[in-house]
Symmetry: D3
Subunit: 149 residues, 6 copies
């Protein structure tokens, strides 16, 4: 008898963002079993728009969103911005506040609710470091944005 | 030859917040080996101040901070508020925006930097759901705040 | 030969929020022709959550959203909060900043994009006055929130 | 017997920002009758400061404010920034969040209160689209700022 | 030959807020010489609206603003809220973030610009402590808001 | 019998930021008596990061913080950003909102609490003008940030 799916899309996204290569396999097996879409990437910048762009580009290239449908890009965009609130904790800004971030991000698209009418949702998780533009003068930061898509 | 400590205090805090009872043992073994302090708790409320209070109270009761030293409470307070930015993603407010949150939190106090001059830091991780005051009408949220203590 | 539909859902919502009873007929005729859903209401309060609740309740009662589907309520909620940013212009708060608001709101649900894949969107428009809790010591405010639904 | 003036300066500003050329005549006739000053313009940019500058420049060139009096420019500036809160709905930022806006703006200067001691006020209305730097991947946005001048 | 007036209204307001009774005389002599209006008060609360109300009430009672003219109350209100940003440094909120403030405030109304066309301006200075609702667990905070009136 | 030390570190920092050269001597004598560290500087920019950098650089050069210890730079950084909230009063941004600032800043490091366990704290005070990039079209602004270090 199969264990029930763990539908916590945000937790999946965070765990996947945390995962080193070796750990990814078991995590993604679960997501595959559920037929959920997922992908990840890395980006470091003092310019927040480059971080937004990197996540959007990954999501498009990995087929997690349909780049021709604004509706999907709108859902993704707001999830990204919500995730970045957790990273920036106040002003959603990096270079203008003289700080930089080095981040891994994971995107998961799936059905976190049992009721099929709830449809698909997207989770964007971001994990990494934020701090001064000086090596090692940084601490960790995490963000999660979730939206219906 | 012993594996090197994983000093990522924020990641530890998030994993510990995520952990169900059975998973906690291996997580906390790592923290114990490093002589780091840790604790966790749960709180649900539409009033953000109750969430702040619950985390502060836990930290005091579990001996993670010295409740008689403002310096320590100040470090903790700012870490909590930073973590709540990730949960609220905009206005740091719950009931006033007609939303409620059910959260687990984990607090870890340790030395995330090899250089002993960097001293102790505190990480507050928060994970749970946020949404309308209607059962099931909620999605996940995560926050992490880190401060020197 | 029929005039093309005006698909500017936000403009429709604002105009409908502005409209006095006599003007509503021509506005809503356009919306009916497009098979778009619409509704309006009034609310005055120093408590922002009462304004959010009034808009949500109207949307449910008027059949503009399906109250049993979180996905729909989530779309509506974020549209409301976005609209309230225009009203509050800074901190999304009323009574805590010793101010009160008297607002009309209009909700329009339709298809603002020609491409049918873009699906349905929802617009929440809010118009009224904001100011001190003293009669006449207030000025106008407007907000608009738009989301895919 | 003449109809009473409609002193709702914010509504006038929004309607004037919405108006296409043909509709402007009747709107501005009302404003002229009241001896109110008004003007409008268009601006599109990913840089918020260009939008602020465009509105300030228009207001000066159209004689709506005295460019040699800081008091007037201060009143206008704060009205503009308040209006932009409605457009940006959170962080008052465009390019740094990888988004762009194409806006019409209208400025109205008049006496919204019957009591002549209340003096002149200024309303800045902004209407247009905001979204990704991709044609059509944008939705409407509105903002209104009102200040005593 | 008389020394020129020091027109720095904000600095005057801060100094006056700082001043103990004995120091007030020389400060207010300067303000009197310039025919500027001034007043001060104290307020402590976890509810921000009580702080706003206390400053407004003082300003009215001390004759610094005309309580029957919204224009004046509007100018004062925005100056107060701007000052409170300096005190709260992020979310403009006290009790909801489980913190309290004990503040002195000073209000100065005068002509900070030599050009008489610049008219009157108002400065609201706030100085005190903010922190946990525990005696001594607090640090200083300062805010200044300036507006044309 | 010696007068007791005035431990109000924030007030000291603001007074020192205000002080002209002649007034500085008595102010700094008090700070010297307490063995507190202090320093000051000036910076003007439309770019907020330049202001942050100028304060950080001053603090390092004047020996107020140890530039090799992230813990100290982290404490300073957050104190700076908190101080800038008082200057910007809303969005923590200058050029992007088409405004510029000319500021003096003072940094004081000392022991504001009698209890020696409370250790060292740092205060960053900022005072100057903010406004349009037009000479004289600006008003005063103040900010204060305090952190344990
Ligand atoms: Mg949501
Ligand atoms: Mg930090
Ligand atoms: Mg949007
Ligand atoms: Mg106002
Ligand atoms: Mg100003
Ligand atoms: Mg603090």
């Amino acid at each position: 008898m199969s264990k029930e799916f763990d539908r916590r899309i945000g937790r999946h996204a965070i765990m996947y963002a945390f995962a080193e290569e070796e750990e990814e396999i078991s995590l993604t097996n679960d997501l595959k079993r559920m037929n959920w879409l997922y992908g990840k990437g890395k980006v470091g910048s003092m310019e927040l728009q480059k971080i937004v762009a990197a996540i959007e580009t990954s999501a498009k290239r990995l087929g997690l969103v349909n780049p021709d449908i604004y509706r999907e890009m709108h859902a993704l965009y707001h999830a990204i911005i919500e995730a970045l609130h957790g990273v920036t904790r106040g002003q959603v800004e990096l270079g203008g506040l003289l700080r930089t971030a080095g981040l891994r991000f994971a995107i998961v698209r799936g059905r976190p609710f049992k009721n099929s009418d709830e449809g698909e949702w997207i989770a964007v998780a971001v994990y990494g470091t934020i701090g001064a533009p000086v090596r090692g003068f940084e601490h960790e930061a995490v963000g999660l944005g979730i939206n219906h898509i």
